[in-house]
C-alpha cells in the first residue's frame, strides 16, 4: 500500500487495545509521513478516541508496535509522547476561553526570566513569539491580551495548532477539529491543516466527515467498531467510495430493508428507498 522509501514519522503496526473484556481496537496499522495528512475516519464508537489516546500516550497499547522515526516506543504518559514530537489538539480541550491568547499559547510551558521562586513570566517574549507564530498561520493578532474566548472556533483551533508546532510537534493529531464548526469555520480549519502539512508536519486528522477529509487527506484509514475497515492512499479511492464506506454500505442496506418492513406509510418507504440508494 505504501510505495515510498522514507521512514514514516509515526507508524502503527498491528496495535490492539483491550479494556477488560471489551476490544477497543484490534489489529490497527497505519502510518504518518512528514508533509502528509493521514485521515482517520470512523463513526461514533469506531475507536478513534482510543487510537488518539494510544498515540498521545494516555493509554499504553496491549499488542502490536508503535514506531516513531522507525524506532519502537512505548509511552508512559502524555508528556513523553509530546517529547517525542506527538501533539494532540483536542476539539474542546484546546484552549482556556477566559485567558488571553499569549497566556494560552504558553500555558504549561511558560517562558521565565530569572530562576527559582522569584522567576517572572517573560511577557514580552511570549507576546512577540505568539504573534510571530500566529502570523505564520496567516493570522494577524492585534491585541495579544485579547481573550481566546472572543476568537472564532477556527481561530481557536489555529492557536492550538500554532502552539503545538512552536513547541516542536512533528506529528500533529487533530481530534475532530471541524465537528463543532460551521461550514465557513470548517473551511478555515482545513486551510490550517493544509498549512501544517506544507510546513512539513505529519498530520493525523480525525473526523467522521469524509467531505472534510478527502480534500486535504493523503492517506485514509477507516475504522469500524475497533477494527480496520480499510486503508488507502488518495489515488486508490474517491470521495464517493469513502462516503459509502463511512455510512457502512451493508449495514445501511439492512437498515433500509428493516425500515421497509416496518413502514406502512409512504413517507417511511421513501426514507427506506433513499437509504437503499445511498447504500448503493
Amino acid at each position: 500500500m505504501s510505495d515510498n522509501q522514507r521512514i514514516p514519522l509515526l507508524e502503527v503496526r498491528h496495535v490492539s487495545k483491550y479494556f477488560g473484556s471489551v476490544i477497543a481496537l484490534r489489529d490497527i496499522s497505519m502510518q504518518v509521513n512528514a508533509g502528509e495528512v493521514t485521515c482517520v475516519l470512523g463513526d461514533n464508537g469506531a475507536g478513534k478516541s482510543t487510537l488518539i489516546k494510544i498515540l498521545s500516550g494516555v493509554h499504553p497499547h496491549d499488542e502490536g508496535e508503535l514506531l516513531v522515526d522507525g524506532k519502537p516506543v512505548r509511552f508512559t504518559g502524555p508528556r513523553e509522547a509530546r517529547r517525542a514530537g506527538i501533539s494532540v489538539v483536542f476539539q474542546d480541550l484546546a484552549t482556556v476561553p477566559l485567558m488571553s491568547i499569549w497566556r494560552n499559547f504558553f500555558l504549561g510551558s511558560e517562558p521565565t526570566l530569572g530562576a527559582g521562586p522569584i522567576s517572572k513570566l517573560n511577557t514580552g517574549f511570549a507576546k512577540r513569539v505568539m504573534r510571530e507564530e500566529m502570523a505564520k498561520m496567516g493570522i494577524d493578532v492585534r491585541d495579544p491580551n485579547q481573550a481566546v474566548g472572543t476568537l472564532s472556533g477556527g481561530e481557536r483551533q489555529a492557536v492550538a495548532i500554532a502552539r503545538a508546532v512552536y513547541f516542536g510537534a512533528k506529528v500533529l493529531i487533530l481530534d475532530e477539529p471541524t465537528s463543532a464548526l460551521g461550514v465557513r469555520q470548517s473551511g478555515i480549519v482545513l486551510k490550517y491543516v493544509v498549512q501544517a502539512r506544507e510546513r512539513g508536519l505529519g498530520v493525523i486528522f480525525i473526523t467522521h466527515n469524509p467531505h472534510h477529509a478527502f480534500p486535504v487527506g493523503d492517506r485514509f484509514v477507516l475504522l469500524n467498531r475497533g477494527r480496520l475497515m480499510g486503508s488507502y492512499v488518495k489515488s486508490e479511492t474517491s470521495l464517493d467510495e469513502l462516503t459509502k464506506m463511512m455510512a457502512g454500505g451493508e449495514e445501511l442496506e439492512r437498515l433500509s430493508k428493516e425500515l421497509e418492513k416496518m413502514a406502512s406509510d409512504p413517507e417511511m418507504k421513501q426514507v427506506a428507498r433513499q437509504l437503499a440508494e445511498e447504500a448503493g
Partner: protein, 362 residues
C-alpha cells in the same frame, strides 16, 4: 482573515495604521484596556461608597474622611482584605473555601492553647499553627481533587467540623468559651509587635493594614507575573484544557487551599495577639464576607477570572460600609442589606464582562 480586537468602542475611530506589527498593539484604546480590567467595577464602587458615606457622615467634626476615620475603616477592611485576596486566588482557581472563616477562629484558639496550656514560646506556637493550617488546607484540597466533589460541599463539611471542634475543645480545656493569652508568655512582646500592634503613633493604624497591602502586592505579582499565576487562571478557566497542556492541576489547587488556610491562620494569630485572647466562635460567618469581597472585586464564581487588587478593593468597600454606617448613625443592621445590594450589582456587572470575554464571534 485577521483577528480584530473586541468590538470597536464608540468614539474610537477605526484605525488604519499600517507598518510594524508592534505599533498596532498601541492601537488598542486605553478605554478598551481599562474595561478589560476585572477590578474596574470595584474601584468605581469603592469611590462611590466613599463619597456616599463621607456625605452622610453624622459624627461631630465629620470624622469619616479624617485620618482617624481612615484608621477605623482600614482596620475593618484589613483582615477582610487579607482573606479576600486568598479567597480570590482560590476562586480564580475555580474553588471555594467555606471553612476560611472558621479557620481564623480555629487557628487563634490553637495558638491560645499552645501558649497557655503547653507553655510554648509564642513564636514556636505561631509556626505550629501555620503548619496545622497548611495541613488543613492540604486536606481540603486533597479531598476536592480526589473526590471531584464541589469544593463548596467539602469545605462546608470542614467548616462544620471545625466549628464544633472550636467550641468543644475550648470548653474541655478551659471550661469557658475563650482562651486568654497573657502578655507574660515568652516571645509575646515581639510577636505582638509584628502581628497585633499599631504603627504611625498618634493615629495608630493596625499592623494588619501593612500585612494586607503587602499580601495584595505579592498576590498580584504572583497572579499576573509568574508561571504559577498562569496556572491559577488556567485551572479555574478550564481544568481539562490545562491538564491537556501539562499544567499540574491538582497541585495548583491544593496549594491554593493551603494558602487560603494559612491566610486564615495569619488572621487568627493577629486577632489572638491583638486582643490577648480569642473567643471560640471567632470567624464563623466571616467566610461570606471574603467571598463577597472577592466577587465584588471582579472574580467570577465559576473561576478563571479575577484579580487580587479587586478583592482588596472589595474589602475596602466592606470596611467603608461597616464604619460608614456607624459614623452615619444608622442602625448597623443595614450594613448587611447594603453589602447584599453591592454584591448583587457586582455580580450583574461581572456577568456582563464575562459574556463579553467568553462569547465567540462566529
Amino acid at each position: 482573515m485577521s483577528v480584530a480586537t473586541t468590538e470597536p468602542l464608540p468614539g474610537s475611530a477605526p484605525k488604519q495604521r499600517r507598518g510594524a506589527a508592534d505599533e498596532r498593539v498601541a492601537g488598542v484604546s486605553i478605554v478598551a484596556r481599562l474595561l478589560q480590567r476585572p477590578e474596574l467595577g470595584a474601584l468605581i464602587g469603592a469611590l462611590a461608597v466613599y463619597v456616599l458615606f463621607s456625605s452622610v457622615d453624622a459624627t461631630p467634626g465629620r470624622l469619616f474622611t479624617t485620618i482617624a476615620g481612615t484608621q477605623n475603616w482600614t482596620d475593618a477592611a484589613s483582615t477582610y482584605g487579607i482573606m479576600a485576596v486568598a479567597v480570590a486566588l482560590l476562586m480564580i482557581g475555580g474553588e471555594f473555601d467555606l471553612s476560611a472563616g472558621v479557620m481564623t477562629g480555629t487557628s487563634g484558639l490553637l495558638l491560645g492553647m499552645l501558649i497557655t496550656k503547653e507553655q510554648l514560646n509564642v513564636w514556636i506556637a505561631i509556626v505550629l499553627v501555620m503548619i496545622f493550617a497548611a495541613l488543613v488546607g492540604v486536606a481540603n484540597g486533597f479531598a476536592v481533587v480526589r473526590t471531584k466533589l464541589p469544593s463548596f460541599i467539602i469545605t462546608l463539611a470542614t467548616f462544620f467540623v471545625l466549628r464544633g471542634v472550636d467550641v468543644g475543645v475550648t470548653l474541655l480545656i478551659t471550661n469557658t468559651v475563650r482562651f486568654d493569652i497573657g502578655d507574660a508568655a515568652p516571645g509575646f512582646a515581639s510577636a505582638h509587635a509584628l502581628f497585633g500592634s499599631t504603627f504611625l503613633a498618634p493615629y495608630n493604624f493596625q499592623d494588619a493594614v501593612l500585612w494586607w497591602i503587602g499580601i495584595t502586592i505579592v498576590a498580584t505579582w504572583v497572579l499576573t507575573q509568574t508561571t504559577f499565576g498562569n496556572w491559577i487562571f488556567a485551572v479555574g478557566g478550564d481544568a481539562n484544557a490545562a491538564r491537556a497542556v501539562g499544567v499540574p492541576v491538582s497541585r495548583t489547587k491544593i496549594i491554593l487551599f493551603m494558602y487560603t488556610a494559612m491566610s486564615a491562620a495569619l488572621v487568627g494569630i493577629m486577632v489572638a495577639l491583638r486582643y490577648k485572647g480569642i473567643q471560640s466562635g471567632q470567624g464563623v460567618g466571616q467566610e461570606f464576607f471574603y467571598i463577597i469581597a472577592a466577587v465584588v472585586g471582579g472574580c467570577l464564581l465559576t473561576g478563571g477570572y479575577g484579580s487580587a487588587i479587586g478583592a482588596s478593593l472589595g474589602a475596602v468597600i466592606i470596611g467603608l460600609a461597616q464604619i460608614g454606617i456607624i459614623f452615619a448613625g444608622w442602625d448597623s443592621n443595614w450594613y448587611y442589606t447594603f453589602l447584599g445590594v453591592i454584591l448583587f450589582l457586582a455580580v450583574g456587572l461581572n456577568t456582563l464582562v464575562r459574556r463579553r470575554a467568553a462569547s465567540s464571534r462566529r
